[in-house]
């Protein structure tokens, strides 16, 4: 009897997985791995990295919880950043998006000090290509965002996951972004797994009510005041606002 039940459960699970893969997905959790090539991201450190013979790639892990109205992207609590001397050279920001109102609260991680600001989710102009690949067992299409004259961002999205979500607050495609990369490969994000499950507001572990949430221009002024205008601008462009 137990064996029969076990077999039946197995088929039910398989069927539901199969159905989940075929059917459209409205809520769940995506686990992302980010690989950062320190030399490509900070070319000025290449001699330093090579001299120490250190591992130039840093792996970080993030989770993206979502349903049709809300999404939350944050560093994973379960899987830690890879060990290495450069693991502090990468950012761990969090993004809480209200998908209905198209607004966002971003928590910037500046070496352990956190800054929160709110804004309207920035719109991006995406170009769609005919390239396709599979990521985490989902068929994905390739899209390109021309960030500026010299920077191109590649994204692979699947229309099978309905909400417009993605890592690092990169959204605007008709589905979930499961792959994200800079043109030079300095930062590459790939979904490792997608867990289909209902997500409620209470499942999101992000408490910001007691903290000051700034407006965007307030934040920029604060950072410039802390670092100086030149260094502040560089910090914002290369690290804090790289994906905006």
């Amino acid at each position: 009897m137990q064996r029969i039940l076990l077999t039946l459960s197995f088929f039910v699970v398989c069927f539901s997985c199969f159905t989940n893969v075929c059917a459209q997905i409205h809520s769940g959790t995506i686990l992302f791995e980010r690989k950062t090539n320190i030399i490509k991201k900070y070319p000025e450190l290449s001699d330093f990295v090579n001299e120490f013979g250190a591992d130039k790639t840093v792996s970080d892990y993030f989770t993206l919880q979502f349903n049709d109205s809300i999404s939350f992207y944050s560093p994973s609590n379960d899987i830690q950043t890879s060990e290495g001397m450069f693991n502090s050279f990468t950012e761990n920001h969090s993004y809480l998006d209200n998908l209905n109102h198209k607004t966002r609260i971003t928590q910037l991680d500046m070496g352990g000090e956190y800054f929160l600001f709110s804004e309207v989710i920035p719109k991006k102009q995406w170009k769609i290509t005919d390239s396709k690949r599979k990521i985490a067992d989902f068929k994905c299409r390739k899209a390109i965002w021309q960030k500026n004259d010299s920077t191109r961002i590649y994204a692979w999205f699947t229309e099978e996951i309905i909400p417009e979500i993605g890592p690092e607050g990169v959204t605007g495609l008709p589905g979930a972004i499961l792959g994200l990369a800079t043109e030079n490969g300095s930062m590459v994000y790939f979904a490792q797994s997608v867990t289909v499950q209902p997500i409620d507001k209470s499942d999101i572990n992000f408490s910001y009510k007691k903290k000051k949430v700034m407006q965007l221009n307030e934040l920029i002024q604060k950072i410039n005041a802390l670092l100086g205008e030149k260094e502040g601008k560089e910090k914002l462009e290369k690290e804090l606002f790289y994906w905006r």
């Binding site: 102009q125 995406w126 170009k127 769609i128 229309e159 589905g175």
Partner: protein, 890 residues
């Protein structure tokens, strides 16, 4: 203050309304419904994404609701690729071309196809109608193009992007001629294309398809552009056709009856044509045989035509997948011609003239029976068997008188030649073909076998006399009898094998065996009335040809690019035996003929092809060892046993660019041919001006040229502008009176035109100048530059929806640079008035006037190494017709 505020608010409100309207006018909404493959059941959760074609920008997306409906809003007015996908179906792509002024576009229902069944298809939707590309076939959906009431197929064709129909009904697509028109894949009332386009109602059409069809023969491959009109299922019920009678009460008349009856899966049609006018419904083959084409100014002679025929078509099987059809055609044609010729022969030390007048009468009568059987052995295999038989009788009578004049225009010889013959010919032909497709994409196999058997008997007489002033030089009175029997069989085996997803290997083996026997007996009539065999012209030939050809090619397709490289290896053996003289001659040639081609094809709106091909011909047996002909003793031919095969290098670049949104197209072809050991007819002349020709090999012949067509529709107007340029230059070498000559010829012909088309009115104006020049040879000191100026105007008007239609056309020709008496200018004006009666407008009465100024004449000029010839032919000029036409429709 309050009033000022209210006033300001009012203007702000008005401005916002205006801005909203302006913004809305610049955006468009695309709506549609997605169903499953049956077309009936809506599919929900289908993902649709709109990407702008010019820069791949994502502009919108949606997912279908439970009713299968989707809506893409606030899209800019542009061209989009819609990607439609669902996990249970194959992805579909649809191109939508919006236009300024479009606000909401409602797409037709889009069915999705189950996995693995989607054909290589991209659907294009223009807000005037959808256009399909199915593989290499371009498909226009007829109902989406608005035409006037009672419009015929020709009116619909004028609306299709890239399709042009001239005033004679001749059709081109993107600048290339349509070579054949089918209805539902078959000829319609014979091979005359205008019978279909001028008689089938536009609302009976389902699709208009355009594609290229390849044909193979011993020399290689040719292709023709086909236009196929497919009928709606409801149009295949009941009957339709027309009957008309037109006459001037004297010698010109036209009568025709066409009737087509559909019932379930059977179709029966009959037709009959009888006329004495140039607008006779001649098909292209008739036009070739009688040297008549569709251009009124080039029609020679005075015709009498009778054509009758019947056709029965039947589809059977569970899914009506098999087909049987049988057709019978009868025709009898008579042409009487009168032509004049003035030829100047130029040599280094002298020249002379030949002025001749020729009268001829040609009668041909033919019966033909054709059967077609198509059997689908399974879903991937088709077997077709097509036997045909035709019996023909013809007679030809010609009388030519020639006068030879010296430089002082004094006659030094004249001759008369009377020739007549009667021919009876029977031809039997059968073709069996098996075509097999496979589940694997791009793999296919086909086998075709053709058998042809021909019997011909010919009887003729020749009466020739030649005399100088006061002296008879020679006279001939001969009778001819010829028996010909020919058997030919050929087989072609083709196989295409995909080596990878992108590379395909194509193999072809072709084999042909011919056995011809021709026995010709010529007898001279003696003074006592008896006949004696003339051994000079009598012959008894047997010719056996054996051809084997292997063709191997590799094609690689990557994105928009296709590369093709291949070669033919051909082995040709010919044995010719004259049993009368017991002389035998054999030829054996093996050729290696490489070719290479590159094609760029971007969504079929921009296509380019660059190719290099080679070809080789062996000299004909009549060039090596000719059978002397006694039809005209002013011209004799001798053989050349040293002739070698020629070898032709052909380079070609062609380009088509079509912008469907702006209705603008450009097509150009650049070509260059270079021939080694080209065949040329060397000429020598005796003191009496008689010509003796012998075929020789020459080197260095070439021709290169360009033809360019460009047209654009002026936006938001019914006006269009067109421009064409044809130019070529050539060099040819020859030997005249044992001296080497080369002649260079250039032709340049630009043409501009303006057209205007709306539902009730149209006009077109065009103008061209043809510059022709020849230099070199022994004509270099003679004027050999001549011009042809041509201006055309056409106008048609449906007068205020009264059922009255007025049409007129004018063509003006001006010729310069020809010999005296041949620089004839002429203006051809035609006009007609039509009135329809009955509520259904099925009865039409017309008054037609042709060549109102009575100036029609045909003139041509040819220039060769040492000859300049001007020809004029009498053709039908002014005549009037009163016509009554009744349309038959169920």
């Amino acid at each position: 203050m309050g009033r000022e505020l209210n006033k300001r608010n009012f203007f702000v409100f008005i401005f916002c309304c205006f801005l909203t309207t302006l913004l809305n006018a610049q955006t468009v909404e695309i709506n549609g419904v997605i169903t499953d493959s049956t077309g009936n059941k809506p599919v929900s959760s289908v993902f649709i994404m709109a990407v702008r074609v010019k820069d791949s920008l994502l502009c919108g997306y949606d997912r279908t609701k439970k009713d299968g409906a989707f809506s893409l809003r606030n899209l800019p007015n542009d061209t989009f690729k819609l990607t439609i996908s669902h996990t249970n179906y194959d992805e579909k792509k649809l191109f939508v071309l919006t236009q300024s002024g479009d606000k909401i576009i409602q797409l037709p229902t889009i069915p999705l196809v189950n996995h693995g069944k989607q054909l290589d298809e991209a659907l294009i939707f223009v807000n005037r109608g959808p256009i399909y590309y199915k593989g290499d076939t371009l498909v226009f959906v007829a109902d989406s193009f608005k035409v006037k009431e009672n419009a015929v197929a020709e009116d619909l064709l004028r609306k299709l992007p890239g399709v042009k129909v001239d005033s004679k009904g001749k059709i081109t697509f993107q600048g290339k001629d349509i070579d054949q028109i089918y209805v539902d894949g078959d000829e319609f009332f014979g091979a005359d294309p205008t019978v279909a386009t001028k008689n089938i109602d536009a609302d009976a059409l389902k699709n208009v398809q355009i594609y290229e069809e390849k044909t193979a023969d011993t020399d290689g491959e040719a292709s023709k552009q086909i236009l196929n009109l497919t009928l709606k299922e409801e149009a295949k019920k009941g009957y339709f056709g027309k009957s008309s009678l037109a006459s001037d009460g004297k010698k010109f008349y036209e009568g025709e009856l066409l009737y087509n009856n559909f019932k379930n899966n059977r179709n029966f049609s009959i037709y009959g044509l009888n006329n004495t006018t140039p607008r006779s419904g001649f098909d292209w083959e008739d036009s070739y045989n009688f040297n008549i084409d569709g251009n009124e100014a080039n029609r020679e002679g005075f015709p009498w035509n009778l054509k009758l025929g019947a056709r029965y078509k039947y589809k059977y099987g569970k899914k009506k997948q098999h087909e049987f059809n049988i057709s019978y055609d009868y025709k009898k044609n008579t042409i009487q011609k009168i032509s004049k010729n003035n030829t100047q022969y130029i040599f280094q030390d002298t020249s002379y003239f030949n002025q001749s007048v020729s009268k001829s009468k040609d009668v041909i009568e033919e019966n033909g029976l054709r059967i077609y059987t198509g059997i689908k052995l399974d879903s991937l295999t088709l077997l077709t068997i097509t036997p045909q038989i035709s019996m023909q009788q013809s007679s030809y009578n010609q009388e030519e008188s020639s006068d030879y004049l010296n430089n002082a225009r004094t006659s030094f010889r004249n001759s008369t030649n009377q020739y007549n013959d009667q021919i009876q010919k029977s031809i039997f032909n059968n073709e069996v073909s098996l075509v097999k497709d496979y589940l694997k994409k791009n793999r296919s196999t086909s086998f075709t076998n053709t058998i042809n058997y021909e019997l011909q008997n010919e009887l003729g007489n020749v009466l020739f006399s030649s005399k100088q002033p006061l002296q008879l030089l020679s006279s001939t009175n001969q009778k001819n009898g010829t028996n010909y029997q020919g058997f030919s069989t050929s087989s072609t085996l083709l196989h295409a094998e995909p080596l990878t997803k992108k590379i395909t290997l194509n193999l072809e083996y072709f084999n042909q065996f011919d056995n011809y026997q021709k026995n010709k007996q010529v007898e001279d009539r003696l003074s006592d009335g008896s006949y004696v065999v003339n051994s000079l012209y009598t012959s008894d030939f047997t010719k056996i040809n054996q051809t084997n050809r292997i063709k191997l090619s590799l094609s690689r397709k990557k994105g928009f690019h296709t590369f093709l490289v291949g070669t033919n290896l051909r082995d040709l053996r010919v044995k010719n035996t004259n049993k009368y003289t017991d002389v035998s001659f054999s030829q054996h040639v093996t050729n290696f003929l490489p070719y290479i081609s590159y094609t760029f094809n971007k969504k079929n709106t921009f296509r380019m092809n660059v190719s290099y091909t080679t070809n080789s011909s062996i000299p004909d047996i009549n060039q090596i060892q000719p059978v002397l002909s006694n039809t005209n003793q002013n011209y004799r031919t001798i053989g050349n046993l040293d002739l070698k095969p020629n070898f032709t290098h052909q380079g070609r670049v062609w380009l088509y660019k079509y912008n469907s949104l702006k209705r603008r197209y450009l097509s150009t072809t650049i070509y260059a041919n270079f021939v080694q050991n080209e065949f040329s007819n060397s000429l020598s002349y005796d003191s009496l001006g008689r010509t003796i020709s012998q075929t020789i090999n020459v080197d260095g012949n070439y021709i290169f040229g360009n033809s360019l067509h460009f047209s654009i529709d002026i936006p938001k107007t019914p006006l269009g502008i067109s421009f064409a340029l044809r130019a070529n230059a050539s060099r040819n070498a020859n030997v005249i009176n044992q001296k080497n000559y080369q002649i260079f010829k250039e032709t340049v012909e630009p043409e501009v035109g303006i057209s205007f088309y709306k539902d009730s009115i149209h006009f077109n104006v065009s103008s061209s100048i043809a510059y022709n020049n020849a230099r070199g040879g022994s004509i270099s000191n003679t004027t050999s530059t001549y011009y042809v100026y041509k201006n055309q105007f056409g106008f048609g008007w449906d007068i205020f929806q009264t059922g009255i239609r007025f049409e007129t056309s004018l063509v003006n020709y001006k010729n310069t640079g020809r010999s005296q008496g041949y620089n004839v200018d002429r203006t051809i004006i035609n006009a007609s008035l039509h009135r329809s009666f009955l509520t259904s407008k099925k009865l039409i009465v017309s008054l037609e006037g042709n060549d109102l100024l009575n100036q029609n004449i045909q003139l041509t000029r040819t220039i060769d190494y040492n000859q300049i010839s001007d020809f004029s032919n009498q053709i039908i000029a002014r005549y009037f017709l009163v016509r009554v036409l009744y349309k038959l429709k169920s």
